[in-house]
Symmetry: C2
Subunit: 364 residues, 2 copies
């Protein structure tokens, strides 16, 4: 068993041992679980992350309202331990089916729907401080990657300089026991919101010319892509640049990559990249890059209220970000990355990006 | 320029030349476009495909209601010709931006929204009988592939036997000028509906043991995956097996892979695989593979009416298919592929699939 799997198994065992100890003493066994509700989420100025606070709840066995969840927690723990020991991984949907039983001669199921087992998985993650990937559970995956780097993926050596038009499909689990980085000449990582724009960058061999790793996550990047970007940043010391649409949704994608999200605050430490830089589209690019009015899209009410929310996020409190958001709201217009194609199909790879990098025209 | 691009460019030129000829003669220039409406879609028993019929419409220049679309058709043709000549590809969203202009001093735009340019692209496809991929336009992409085959992708040689847990990300354009097949030991192609199930097959190295190529398209497979499956079938003579959920949506996915869809009937010839076999989940598998009742999902009204529609499809007219669909409706239950995990996490790769193949237990 690899070191990560050993560590995770030991964590699950410790959880069970603590309970057994209480049972032997004749006590009421419980599991202690950090609270994942909004009330226990805070912005840490020091870590520059959206983090979980210190509140914890006890889940007791001898308690009518808690007994089922207590049992479910150990059912899921046990299934994950088995997964890890067998060296297999699976989806959270699959885990639901694996652990679904009808209890004895009753009509009672261990779980009736997946929306019962998913929160238990999250409970276990925070209770033992392990990412679900370390529990051998994967999320749905999307996204692709190419660049001047060789990786190892479950024993196969893959040269991401020679991946054609398709690229390497980023899996959901990209922990060190699965993916290792080998030789590379990359100077930075470029995370692109849209697969179509990524295809433009790949086709123009931008990554070769500029020595960078390009990734796309098909909109809001999935866990695998975010974790991989964090590892490239931390382990290889590569700066991370994010390229998204000029709209509140694009800004939100950047925000999640940078400091995590409120819903998944407990995993920010393992997913977020507080140093990630916002490269564009900036609300001021329409002027700088002479985009005609007819490629602008009028913001709708949803956009406006989303932008207002962001104005109030502490991590968008800096003068430059307030200016950026206010300009978008004042104009009432948003722009897609594809709008740059109005200036030419490769304008984005040949003029926009090179000028942005040369002028260090980004926000952090 | 590669042969496919040359051919497509010539087709666009012929379209323009025909119009110019009419102009020189003082006539009313027009483009002839096969009708894409439901009334002109038929099931061809001979080809076993959903096909376009013979109805055509003329789009005239000197006609108030047609002039704008006539102009748009040539605007799109021109942009595609430029794309092909520059050796670049782009998305249909991008093409919309590229071709969007405000005309002269008017407030009139060539296109106001993408839903105006998309049908024009389809018109051009049918008018000159070229897939949009041949026009260098790509759709959004998803899906991954591994197996005992080496491919070339835009000049890079990629060994799909050594793609780790991620796999090769299938691009949207997979025509012969982009993707070529090299050495392979595959005996068949297995198209899996769900990425999570594909991951199980990849992790268990099913493709290595059984010598097959495994692909997933994240639900309804995108154009790139469908076209690639067709090419693997036609060029390498590999049988194609489809593995989907036991529900009307899963059956529909199989149906589209096999004979195309009504909406995109004009491309069935280039996308569909009439010989594709349905491997499962069959409505009779719950008995054969002893699935407990508690993993069944009750069909809702939408499921039932969808299943009824399929009963009436001519290509589901064979006795076996009627039996299959009637069994699903009689039980009122549907099953996901993941339900097999109730029998063990690798039951699907170690028992289910091998037995299906051994017993030749599939529907064609």
């Amino acid at each position: 068993m690899d070191p990560i799997s050993k560590k995770t198994t030991a964590k699950i065992e410790r959880l069970a041992e603590a309970v057994m100890k209480t049972v032997k003493k004749g006590g009421n066994p419980f599991v202690e679980i950090p609270v994942r509700s909004l009330a226990n989420v805070k912005w840490s100025e020091k870590h520059r992350l959206v983090e979980l606070g210190d509140q914890k709840q006890q889940r007791y066995f001898f308690n009518v309202s808690m007994a089922k969840k207590f049992m479910q927690t150990f059912l899921v723990s046990d299934a994950c331990k088995e997964l890890i020991e067998s060296g297999k991984t699976t989806s959270i949907r699959d885990l639901y089916y694996v652990t679904k039983h009808t209890i004895g001669d009753t009509k009672q199921n261990t779980f009736d729907e997946q929306d019962e087992s998913d929160p238990i998985i999250e409970d276990l993650e925070v209770a033992i401080d392990a990412l679900r990937e370390e529990l051998h559970l994967f999320a749905s995956r999307k996204g692709s990657m190419v660049g001047p780097i060789t990786i190892r993926d479950t024993g196969d050596t893959i040269d991401l300089r020679r991946m054609g038009s398709g690229g390497w499909a980023v899996p959901s689990i990209v922990e060190e026991n699965v993916i290792q980085f080998e030789k590379h000449e990359a100077k930075y990582v470029l995370l692109i919101e849209k697969d179509a724009v990524w295809t433009r960058f790949n086709e123009d061999k931008f990554w070769k010319r500029e020595k960078c790793i390009i990734l796309q996550g098909g909109g809001q990047p999935p866990r695998g892509v975010r974790r991989l970007v964090q590892r490239l940043h931390k382990e290889l010391g590569l700066p991370v640049f994010v390229l998204v649409d000029n709209d509140p949704w694009g800004f939100y994608i950047y925000s999640v990559v940078k400091q995590g999200s409120i819903n998944l605050a407990y995993e920010s430490m393992r997913m977020a990249v507080p140093d990630a830089r916002f490269l564009g589209l900036s609300s001021f690019d329409k002027e700088k890059y002479k985009l005609p009015d007819n490629v602008a899209i009028t913001m709708d009410d949803g956009d406006v209220s989303r932008a207002k929310q962001m104005l109030a996020y502490p991590w968008f409190g800096r003068k430059e970000w307030q200016k950026e958001l206010r300009e978008m709201m004042a104009s009432g217009k948003k722009y897609e990355l594809e709008a740059l194609s109005r200036r030419g199909i490769s304008f984005i790879t040949e003029e926009y990006l090179p000028r942005k990098m040369r002028d260090r025209d980004w926000l952090a």
